[in-house]
Point group: C2
Chain length 194, copies 2
């Protein structure tokens, strides 16, 4: 699960990851939406485009891993394709908003939750204090946003700074490789006879 | 903590890791022992060579992170140098026997415990069953050893197959990089004002 505050660059990092030819075992989970298809968009590639009725039918039948409403339209992750991909032995990459990520967390305890952080978040407090050139209203606003982002982060497994897209991708790749070595994920391979 | 069954190649992998020039932030924790110094060995490099009385004095004063006795000699990890290295902001690599690793586990809940596995362990059961060329006594003996090794593994965070030293080193490097991105390890950097 790749998540993070809005504007941090989740989409850019996700696209860079999926372009990487190493990732034949990683599949991006295409989202479902009720918003109209834009020119050039392809159903099943950019989104699964569905009517409001179809989407609400999926919700009622427990078919959505997570979903949310933005500006009168539904967006969400259909459970079916996630399960199909996992059953095929591949990893699934979800790029989701923080609210969606928390819905997934409760349903997928063995999922890996990565919080993409703005590059300035870590030094923000110190920098604001030291510099003192911004007016208090600006400082307060940015500090409040930072505090919210840091609070969000505590619900995740990993924090990846998006200072440069290629560095963020490299960090995420290492997390994926490392998680595949967890005893809790491989122990069945040692104890199974199949 | 790099550990694993005897004969798996812990020393070789550790030496290969420390030779790697990337690892300026990783320091090998030199063990303490009461066994006599061999020709060419250097105190403080290969081991801290101490008398039995000095070693037992360290044990009594809580100065050993872990220790064990093999063939009438003590071997162990002095806590002092581990803490000094961690305080300097570096990672510490410990290469220890499985009994020692379990002692460290209880003292260092935030340590990362890596179990190096023999390359044949994963396929061993299936291979033995399919092949059926070994006599039953040999099969039983190897199966019992494998069962013990798999049981040990469940006490660790990660399982790294030592099929090739350079591949094992690469996997361990990814684990170290990935663990540095854990929210639980970095959150202080975001909330601290220092």
């Amino acid at each position: 699960m790749l998540s993070g505050p809005s504007g941090v660059g989740k989409g850019t990092v996700r696209q860079a990851m999926m372009k990487d030819h190493h990732h034949q075992d990683l599949q991006y989970s295409v989202s479902m939406t009720t918003r109209p298809k834009r020119p050039g968009e392809v159903d099943g590639v950019d989104y699964y485009f569905r009517t409001k009725e179809e989407f609400e039918h999926e919700i009622k039948n427990g078919g959505m891993l997570e979903y949310a409403q933005y500006v009168d339209h539904y967006y969400g992750t259909p459970l079916k394709y996630v399960n199909q991909t996992l059953d095929a032995g591949k990893d699934v990459l979800l790029e989701i908003e923080v609210n969606g990520a928390m819905q997934v967390r409760s349903k997928c305890p063995d999922g890996v939750f990565i919080f993409l952080t703005p590059p300035d978040l870590q030094e923000l407090r110190q920098r604001i204090i030291n510099r003192g050139t911004d007016d208090m209203a600006t400082i307060d606003k940015r500090m409040q946003k930072a505090a919210e982002e840091i609070k969000m982060m505590t619900n995740y497994d990993y924090a990846v700074v998006n200072d440069k897209v290629e560095l963020a991708v490299d960090r995420i790749e290492k997390i994926i490789a490392s998680e595949h070595l967890r005893v809790s994920r491989v122990i069945d391979q040692y104890t199974s006879f199949n």
